[in-house]
């Protein structure tokens, strides 16, 4: 019962914050709501025994990405932004498409049948500790994708610098 309540709180908070994120006219507010949203998602991860992911969710998302967003918002003319319309003219169409999709997805979720369970049971993780188990897998079976991910980040860093750099006029 407690867990249902717990889930209910988190779930409704996540949904509400998500809605707030996409509807606020002031982008700064949106970012703030998003921050809260990320904390709640991290909580949900804890609830699912994924403490490493939860930590990353907070460090990377809340700590890095959202700060980036805030930083970008400083470029914009916020006062101007508050005066203009926040939705495009055809927003009802978007609403229709999304609701329809949602209805369909929700209607099929029920028919989902879980596959066979793996070896990472709660007991196993308790014994191994979560981060270690994840780390082991990451550095053995998924070493190659892991390295690729690091490359992706490197490219992203370089790319971001090149793109954002102010073009100096060529000699």
């Amino acid at each position: 019962m407690l867990s249902e309540l717990f889930f209910g709180y988190y779930a409704s908070a996540i949904v509400i914050f998500s809605l707030l994120v996409v509807t606020r006219s002031n982008p700064v507010h949106s970012v703030m709501w998003m921050l809260l949203l990320f904390f709640h998602i991290a909580g949900l991860y804890l609830f699912l025994n994924a403490e490493f992911v939860a930590a990353i969710q907070i460090i990377v998302y809340a700590g890095a990405i959202l700060v980036l967003f805030l930083f970008i918002l400083l470029f914009l003319n916020l006062r101007e932004e508050l005066k203009v319309k926040r939705f495009i003219g055809a927003w009802p169409a978007g609403l229709f498409v999304t609701t329809a999709l949602l209805v369909i997805v929700l209607s099929v979720v029920r028919s989902f049948v879980p596959g066979p369970a793996g070896k990472y049971s709660i007991e196993f993780i308790k014994q191994e500790t979560h981060t270690k188990a994840l780390g082991k897998l990451l550095y053995t079976d998924y070493l190659f994708p892991f390295e690729i991910a690091s490359l992706v980040l490197l490219v992203a860093i370089i790319g971001a610098i090149v793109l954002a750099k102010r073009k100096t006029r060529s000699k």
């Binding site: 495009i88 329809a100 999709l101």
Partner: protein
């Protein structure tokens, strides 16, 4: 290696040396190379002639030129009696005119170029006459045409000169078109283009007909006429004569060598060379004779009224060439060749004298501005007088014997048009004498009509020019003596010499008739001279009066029967008009391009409609994508 190979290749070497090194190194010494080379050719020619006289005929291949399937042709040489005559004519005239040019072209900026072209011309002409197959003949044929083009347009910075060169080349191309087809027909008929097998087998096809472009024609007539097309172009016969008068834009030695003595006679040479083919077709011979006769009359009448000294001689050349064809057309090939040979001397001499006059007159060509030059330039006067006597057919001079032989053989031969062309020939003989002496009288007699400076400047030409004049003069007088008819106690050596190649012309007439023909031609010649003397020495107002009285006729003659204008009107202008307005304007632009551009344009229109969908709005695309996902999912669920 036979030494006769030196004959053509010495001038070729001279050409190469001059063209490669002339501009930078030889400059004013360019003539030495060419003169030495041509003189060398002449010496070898004389040796070769002696060989031929002793009965030695050469016919051999040097190397295989084109081989394709059954078509095989080599570069090869045939030296027989006919070739020998041409060799003598070509190398002699060429050598003398090379020497003459040293004086005439002195100080010209393209000196080396001039001698290079002259040598190249000599080479090509020699290749033409020495060929042992039709394709090599064609090579020389086009080669001399090319040199003629170069030399007519020698003063290329003048528009008339470059126009005339181009005209000569293109008009000749019309003739060569037929000539080329003729060679192809020969190959398709005989399977070879070598003279020897073609001529020896020609009789086999004597009565054969062939379907040509849908018409059944007599094979030999077809071949002969196609070849004759080439002759018409090269020898400036009607209707392709228009280029020769214009060719006088070139330097005078060129006119003498190319447009009088050698190149233009190549057409006659061709007919003579192909006499085994021509003899098999009476129709072809008749056409040759009539073309020659009409051309000679036509050109002579134009010559009557012209005032340009070189043009008069040019028309006279056309007229005399017509004479040669007339001879060939009645089957008297030897007579034609004889006239070719004597004509080379006196006509080259006439031109060179005209050049000498021009030299003295600072390039003036108009007869009406000359007069009384006799006392200033005696050598020129006397040599020109002898040349004119020769062309007028005064007994004893070279022209008399050859002309008389032609007229007699035309009269007495078997040709159905023989009598007719004889009549024309006699009239032309009269006209020739008239305009030749009109030229002499207007130039050398009477009072000087030019400007004071010109008169002051008058002088006899330098030695380099007068010596060739004198040598040629000897030829103009004496060259006919080797062909004096039996009637006058001569031996007709020339005819005998050529008989192995050209056959002996048949004459069916009595001695009385022969005397009569000769007398008529002599009377015609003398009356022409006399009339000219009357008009231009005694009563100088008659020509003006006549010109006024027969104004229309005079105008037609003065404008050369409007042939140039006619061609321009029916060929040149319509072609260019078609090209400009129909081909570029309609076919290419309106039809082909419309189809070609129309299809892409249609596609473009279609895509213009389609691209409205591409709004460039990111969210529109995303929404459509989402809609797509929705539809796919819905379809999957509802199935």
């Amino acid at each position: 290696m036979n030494n006769y190979l030196l004959i053509p290749f010495l001038p070729l070497a001279a050409f190469l040396i001059n063209i490669l090194f002339g501009r930078k190194y030889l400059k004013d010494n360019a003539h030495w190379v060419s003169i030495l080379a041509v003189a060398g050719s002449w010496v070898v020619t004389v040796i070769t002639l002696l060989d031929v006289l002793s009965g030695k005929v050469v016919n051999e291949d040097i190397y295989s030129w084109i081989v394709s399937g059954e078509f095989k042709v080599s570069v090869g040489f045939l030296i027989d009696q006919l070739t020998a005559v041409m060799l003598v004519v070509v190398t002699t005239c060429s050598a003398l005119i090379h020497i003459y040019s040293v004086g005439y072209m002195q100080g010209d900026k393209g000196y080396y170029r001039f001698f290079a072209y002259l040598s190249l011309f000599t080479f090509c002409m020699l290749m033409l006459v020495m060929a042992n197959n039709f394709l090599q003949l064609y090579f020389g044929w086009e080669g001399v045409g090319l040199c003629s083009y170069f030399l007519i347009g020698y003063y290329f910075d003048k528009k008339p000169a470059s126009d005339a060169g181009k005209k000569a080349f293109i008009v000749n191309r019309f003739g060569d078109f037929g000539f080329g087809l003729g060679i192809i027909m020969i190959f398709l008929t005989f399977g070879t283009v070598y003279y020897e097998p073609v001529f020896s087998q020609a009789k086999v096809f004597a009565v054969q007909t062939i379907n040509f472009l849908g018409y059944d024609v007599h094979l030999m007539t077809l071949i002969a006429l196609l070849l004759f097309c080439g002759s018409i172009g090269k020898s400036a016969q009607m209707p392709l004569h228009v280029w020769l008068p214009d060719a006088m834009e070139g330097p005078t030695p060129v006119s003498a060598l190319i447009h009088a003595a050698t190149m233009v006679t190549a057409g006659v040479f061709l007919v003579a060379r192909c006499s085994p083919i021509f003899s098999l077709s009476e129709t072809a011979l008749m056409i040759v004779a009539l073309t020659g006769a009409i051309t000679s009359l036509f050109a002579a009448t134009i010559g009557l009224v012209q005032n340009d000294i070189k043009r008069i001689i040019a028309y006279s050349t056309i007229s005399q060439l017509g004479y040669m064809f007339l001879a060939a057309g009645v089957g008297a090939y030897t007579a034609g060749m004889f006239h070719l040979y004597t004509h080379a001397f006196f006509k080259a001499l006439l031109f060179l004298c005209a050049g000498s006059v021009m030299h003295a007159m600072s390039g003036e060509l108009d007869l009406q501005k000359m007069g009384g030059l006799k006392k200033y330039m005696p050598i020129t006067y006397w040599t020109m007088l002898f040349a004119s006597l020769s062309i007028a057919g005064v007994p004893g001079f070279a022209g008399f014997f050859s002309k008389d032989e032609i007229l007699w053989l035309a009269y007495s031969g078997q040709s159905p048009v023989g009598k007719f062309v004889w009549a024309i020939g006699t009239v032309v003989a009269f006209l020739t004498a008239f305009y030749s002496f009109r030229l002499i009288f207007l130039t050398f007699h009477g009072k000087f009509r030019g400007t004071y400076e010109q008169e002051h400047h008058l002088h006899e030409s330098p030695k380099a020019m007068t010596i060739p004049l004198i040598i040629l003069c000897i030829g103009a007088v004496a060259s006919g003596w080797i062909g004096i008819p039996h009637l006058l106690g001569g031996g007709e050596h020339f005819t005998e010499f050529l008989t192995p190649v050209l056959g002996h012309p048949e004459a069916h007439g009595t001695h009385a008739e022969e005397w009569l023909v000769m007398a008529i031609s002599i009377i015609a010649g003398f009356s022409g001279v006399g009339l000219a003397a009357l008009f231009y020495l005694v009563k100088t107002d008659i020509p003006v009066m006549l010109a006024q009285k027969f104004n229309a006729t005079y105008k037609v003659l003065w404008n050369k029967y409007y042939v140039d204008e006619l061609y321009s009107f029916i060929i040149v202008r319509p072609t260019i008009w078609t090209a400009k307005n129909i081909l570029i304007g309609v076919t290419d632009a309106k039809i082909i391009e419309a189809i070609v551009n129309g299809i892409p344009k249609g596609i473009g229109e279609f895509s213009r409609i389609l691209r409205k969908v591409q709004t460039g709005l990111l969210q529109r695309y995303a929404a459509i994508m989402a809609l797509g996902v929705l539809i796919i999912m819905a379809v999957m669920l509802l199935r």
